[in-house]
Symmetry: D2
C-alpha cells in the first residue's frame, strides 16, 4: 500500500475492505509522504520492518528485488491525487497489478499514458469507484443492460455532502486541506472528489456516453480556491439527457449520492444512504422495491452480497467487492486465462481515464461562454 497512513480516512477503509473477505493481506507499505510518518504508520499496522518503507520508491525497489513468489500480488495506491500518476505509472511499468484511488490522475494526457501502459503490460488495474460495488447498483446496471428500462431517456445524478460548508481547509483539517490544494487535488474540488463518483455511477449503470456538457462550477464558501459546487447539464450519445449535481456545501447532508434513470419502460431510483434497496417504477405496473440478496436478482448482484436479504450490508462491503473483483482478475491473470466477467467485476483503468476526461471537460465548460463543450470519447 502506498499512502493511507496515520490520520488518513480512506486508507483504513481499503484495509478493512481487503480484510473482510480475506481478499488481500497487507504485507508491505510506504504509508505516508513523510518518511517518519510512513514508518510509524507501518509499525502501528504491524508491517515487518523490512517491508515498512519510508517512500514508494523504496517499496518499489524492494519488491523488484524479491523473487516472483515473494512479491506483493497487488499495489494499492491511496495517496492524495497528485501522486496517483507517478506511482501508478512506475508500478505498472514494473509489472505490478495496481488498485488506485479516484480520480485517477490530474490530466487526460496522463490518463492516456496510463491506459497505454496497462495495455502494454497486460496487468490488472482497478480504480476504487466503490459505489459501483454495491449489489443494487450492479442490479440496476444489469436491468438496464437487459433492456428492462427500454431505451434510456433521462438520467439525474446528485452527490451532495455538507462537510465543506465551512472553510475547514483553513482550520487544519487534513482531508479538506489537500482536497482544496490544486497542487495535490488537481483543478477540481467537489467535482473531482465526488463529481467523479457521480460520473462513474452514471456510466456504470447506464453505459451511456456523454457527448457534450454544460457546467457551472462555484466556490460558494468565501475564500475557497477550488469548486465546492458543480452543476452540469449532460447530453448523451443517442439523445438521452441528463443532469449531474455535486456539492459539498449542502449543510447537514451526509453522503447523499442519488441516481435516477428513466427509459421508455420505466425508472430506477437508488440512494446510497439506503444502499440495500433499489426502487423500480415500471411504466405499466406498481413500483417494485428490490432488495439485496433476494433470489430473483441478477447473478452479478447476488454474488456481490454476503448475507441474506434484510441483513444490511454497507459501504465497506461495497468497497470490498471492488477488491474481490480485482482479486478474481489477478487469479485469472495468474492462470493465463481471460477473467470471468461476473467475478472480475471492477472499474478499470479505462473507467478511470473516462472520469479524468469528464473532469477536464467540466473544467473547460466552466471557463467557457459557449453553452456546450464536447467530451472526447476514449
Amino acid at each position: 500500500m502506498v499512502g493511507g497512513g496515520q490520520g488518513a480516512f480512506i486508507g483504513a477503509v481499503h484495509r478493512k475492505a481487503m480484510a473482510l473477505d480475506g481478499a488481500f493481506e497487507l504485507v508491505a507499505g510506504a504509508l505516508s509522504s513523510t518518511p517518519e510518518k510512513a514508518r510509524a504508520s507501518g509499525r502501528e499496522l504491524g508491517l515487518p520492518e523490512e517491508r515498512n518503507h519510508a517512500d514508494w520508491q523504496a517499496l518499489l525497489a524492494d519488491e523488484l528485488g524479491r523473487g516472483p513468489g515473494d512479491r506483493v500480488d497487488l499495489v494499492s495506491i491511496v495517496t492524495p491525487n497528485h501522486l496517483h500518476f507517478p506511482v501508478a505509472q512506475a508500478f505498472v511499468d514494473a509489472g505490478f497489478h495496481v488498485v488506485c484511488d479516484k480520480p485517477l490522475v490530474h490530466h487526460a494526457a496522463q490518463a492516456d499514458a496510463l491506459v497505454a501502459a496497462v495495455r502494454a503490460r497486460g496487468t490488472v488495474f482497478g480504480v476504487t469507484y466503490n459505489y459501483g460495488g454495491y449489489p443494487m447498483v450492479r442490479q440496476a446496471r444489469e436491468m438496464v443492460r437487459a433492456g428492462e428500462l427500454g431505451e434510456l431517456r433521462k438520467v439525474v445524478v446528485e452527490y451532495n455532502q455538507g462537510w465543506l460548508s465551512t472553510r475547514l481547509e483553513a482550520e487544519g483539517n487534513k482531508q479538506a486541506t489537500w482536497r482544496n490544494d490544486p497542487a495535490r487535488s488537481g483543478g477540481a474540488g467537489a467535482l473531482g472528489d465526488i463529481g467523479s463518483h457521480a460520473e462513474n455511477l452514471v456510466a456504470t449503470v447506464t453505459g451511456l456516453q456523454i457527448e457534450a456538457l454544460c457546467a457551472d462550477l462555484s466556490a460558494l464558501v468565501p475564500g475557497r480556491t477550488l469548486d465546492d459546487d458543480a452543476n452540469v447539464l449532460l447530453r448523451f450519445a443517442g439523445g438521452a439527457r441528463g443532469v449531474l449535481v455535486a456539492s459539498q456545501v449542502n449543510a447537514g447532508i451526509e453522503n447523499g449520492l442519488r441516481l435516477r434513470v428513466s427509459g421508455t419502460l420505466g425508472t430506477l431510483e437508488w440512494w446510497q444512504e439506503e444502499p440495500n434497496r433499489l426502487l423500480h417504477h415500471p411504466i405499466d405496473a406498481p413500483a417494485r422495491l428490490l432488495t439485496r440478496g433476494a433470489p430473483w436478482l441478477h447473478p452479478a448482484a447476488l454474488r456481490a452480497g454476503r448475507i441474506p436479504p434484510g441483513h444490511p450490508e454497507g459501504f465497506i462491503e461495497a468497497f470490498a467487492n471492488v477488491y474481490l473483483g480485482v482479486a478474481a482478475a489477478i487469479r485469472a491473470h495468474g492462470r493465463g486465462e481471460p477473467p470471468d466477467p461476473l467475478e472480475a467485476d471492477y472499474p478499470g483503468v479505462e473507467d478511470g481515464a473516462r472520469g479524468v476526461r469528464f473532469i477536464e471537460a467540466v473544467l473547460a465548460s466552466a471557463r467557457s461562454n459557449e453553452k456546450w463543450t464536447p467530451v472526447r470519447p476514449a
Copy 2:
C-alpha cells in the same frame, strides 16, 4: 368559473377546493369553450339555467347586468392557457376579483399588461400555484425568512412525472392534446405545465431572484412538438446557485416535485408525495422531521392546516388554502382594509408574471448557444 367542464381534471379540483372550507360556492359558469358542452357541464353541476352560460362573454355580460350584491365574488379561470389572458383581462377590467390557473399567460408582455390592469383596478388576483398552499411549504418559507438556514447557497428543485412517456396526445387524451398544442399551451410543454410550478416553489420558499439561467429543453418522445424534458442551471442574485429539472417522461413516476434548499446553517428537503413532512438538517444538530400541525410550527404553517398532526392532509387541502387566502383578501378589500398577510396568503398576479418571464427566458436560452441568458426582473 370559466372552463373546467366535463372531462377536465383541474376544474373539479378547484370546485372541491372551494367546497372543502365553504370558501366559495359555484353559482355561475361558462364551463367549456364548446357552448353545448358548457351548458351540459353546468347542468350536471346544478347551475341555475340563467347563470349557466355558453361562453365567457355571456357570463361577463350577465354578471355586469346584475347589481353589486348579486354578482359573483370571484371569477375562477381554469381554461387551457391561451384563454387565460383575454378572459382574465376582461374580468379584471370589469372590476372582478379573479383566480387564474398557471402559467398565467403566454408572453411577458401580456403578463405586464395584466399586472398593470390589476394594479389599476385594485382588485384581488390569485394564481393557483397550489403547491405553495401546502402547510410545510409555508413552514419552509418562514424558516428561510427567519434566517434558520442562514445565507442561502444552493437550490435544487425537481418536478418529475411519467404520464407523457408515451405520445398520449396522438391517442386523443384531452389533457395531453391541448398541453402539446402550442396554440393553446404556449411555447412551453413540460416547462410550462410543471416547470412553472417548480419555479414558483423556489421563489416562494427562498425569495431568491433568478438573474440568469442556462437551459436544455427536449422533446424526448418522438413526434412530440413541445418540450417534455427541461433542465436548467440557475444563478441567483446574491450568488446562490441552483438547478431546476422538469420532466414528464420519467416513466412510472407519479408527481415527484422535490425541493432541496441549502444555506450556511442547514438544508431543507420537501417532497410533494409526502407533503405533511419537512426534513430540516441543521449544520450542527441531528436532522429534524417537522410535521404538519405540530404546535412549534410557524403560524403561517399552522393556520394552513385543518386537523391534528398525524392526520394527513393532501393536495386538495393545499389547493383550498389558495382559495382561503384569496377569500381573506376579498373580505379585506370589501372592508377597504389592507389584508392581513397571514390570512391573505396566496400567489398573486406578480408571481404569475414572474413565472411567465421565467418561461420566456428558458425558451430563449434553449434556442441560444450562449451559456447564460439573463432573466428580466419585475
Copy 3:
C-alpha cells in the same frame, strides 16, 4: 347534526367531509348538549333559526313535523359516546337514516337493540370508522378477498398516539376530559377511542372473526381513570393469530395506526400517516409499492380516490368516502333498490355492534385471570 358544536374536533371533520364532495349539506342541528352553546354553534355555522335547535329532542320533533320532502336526508350523531345510543335509537325508530360516530354504544345489549331497530326499519345506518375509507385500505381488503395473500395467518395492528402522555383531563382539555370520564366515554379509554378503530381496520381488511382474546389494559399516567394503554392477543376463527396494540401514551407519536397482515402467499403493510401507499410483499417476488389512483388497483380502491396518483389525498377525503357510501345507500333506498356494494361502501350498524362486543370482551379479559376470553359472534 347532533353534537359537534363549538370546540369539538370531530364535528368539523364531519362537516368538511360532507362538503368536499357535496354529499350532504348541513341544514339543521342540535349542536351541543348545552342549549345556549347549541344555538350559538348553529348560528356560527349559518343554520336558519328554525332549524337550529337547543337539544336533539327538539330537532327530532321539528323534523317529524315536516313533510317527507322537507326533512333531512340523514342525521349525523357526533356527540360524546354516551349519547350515541338514545339519540340513534330515537332517530332510527322515527325512520331516519343515521351516521353515528364510534364506538357505537356502551354495551353490547344496546348494540343488539340498535341492530334490531335498524333491521326493523330498513333504514341506512353508517358508523364513521373512517380509516376504512382510505383507498389503499380498500385495496388491501380486496386483495385479501381475492386471495392474493392466500390463507391468512397473522395480523398485527397498532394504533399509537402520544397526546395523552400527560394528564390533560386534569387541565381542562375538553376532548381528554370526556374521553376519560366513564359516564360519557364508557368503560374503555384508549381502547374505545382508538382500539376500536384498530379492531375495525382488522375486520375490514381481513374479514377474520376474533374467537378469543387476552388483554392487558393499563392506565399508565398516574391518576387516570380509564385505560390509556391496551395490548391484546387475538385468536381468529380458522387459526390465524394476532396482536392489537392501542396506546395514547407513546409520547411524541402522532397518529400511528399501522396494519400488517400475513398469509401463505405474502404480507401487506399499511400506515395511516402515509395513507396513499400500500406495501405488498409477495412470497415469491419483489415487494410492490401500490399507490392510490394507479390504474391497476381494484375498482373499490380506485373509485375511493378523486385525483391522479402522486397527488396525495388524506384523512378528510377518507372520511368523506364514508359519507359518499352512505349517500349511495340512501339513494338506492329512495329508489327502493338494493345498493350497489361498490358504491354503498361504508361500515354499518353491524360493524358498530361487533366493535362494541370486542370492547366488552377486552374489558372482561382485562379483569380476568383466565388467559382466554371468548368473543361472542354476531
Copy 4:
C-alpha cells in the same frame, strides 16, 4: 471455532466479523459435528492440519497440550443450540475465553451452571446477541440510561421474518431442519431463534426487567413441530408494559426487527433494516433523526462505528462490534485489570442466561391457562 463449517450461515458471519477489524484470526477449529466434514471445512478455510480437528474434544485436548502463549485466545461456539452447553462448559472449565451463539443453552439450570462456571474461572464469555452491536442501538441504550425518555412506560418489539412460511424443514434445508428439531434447537422455534434476539434488544436498550408474561405460541405451518409464531404480553418491574412479537411466517418479510420504546418524555424507534438511523420523538419538539457517526452521539455509539455518517455500516459491522468488545475484555483480563465498559461492550453470560429464563417462561405460559406467568430474576 467449534461448528460453522460447510453450509453453515452463521459461521461465515462470525469469521468475517472477526476479520473485518482483525480482532481475531481463525487458527484452529472443529468445524462440524461430522468428522469428515469438520476436516474438509477446515482445509477449505486454510487451517493447518494439526489444528484442524475432527471434533471439539480433540480441539480442547490439543489446546490444553499447548503452552499458554500458543493457545487460542478465544473459542467461538457456533454450533446448533444443543451443543452450546457441553462445549461451552468444557472450555470455560478449562479456562478458555468463549464466545457462544444464542440462545445460550436449552434450560435455565444449564444457564445457571454456566454463569457459575464463568464466575468461578473469571474468564471472558460473550454471547452473540449481535443486534446490540449496532451503533444506533447503543445510542438508544445510552439515551434511556441518561433519562432522555424519562420514565419508561411502553415497549413494543417485533421480529418478523418470512423464510419459514413454507415447511422448508421437510425439503432438506439445513438451517430449517435443525431449528425445527427439538433435540437440537430446544423447545422453542421462532421464539428461540429470533424471539430471544428481541428479548435481548429490549433488555439492552431499556434495562427493564420482565416480571411476568403471557404468551401465545403457535406452529402456523401445518406439520411443523416447534413454534413459528410467538406473541407475548410483557409486564415489567416498575409498571411499564410491553409486547413482543416474533414470527417466521410473515411471508415476504426479510429481517424485520423493530423496537419502539416510550417514556414520559418521548419515544424511540429503531428498525434493523435501516440500522444507521434512530428516530427520536421528544414530547415537546420535532422528531429527531439521529444517524450513525454524527458527532453528537454518545461515545458508546460513536466508537461502535468505523466510517463517517452517511456511509452505511451493516450487519457484519454490528457483529464485529461484539467481537471487538470481547477482545477488549480479554486484553484487560490479560493485564489483570477491570475492563473499560466503553470498550468491553458486549453481551455476557448473564445476558445469555436471562434469555434462557425468558424462553422457559414463555414456553410455560404457552402451556398454561393462567394469564400471567412470572419470570424468575437472576
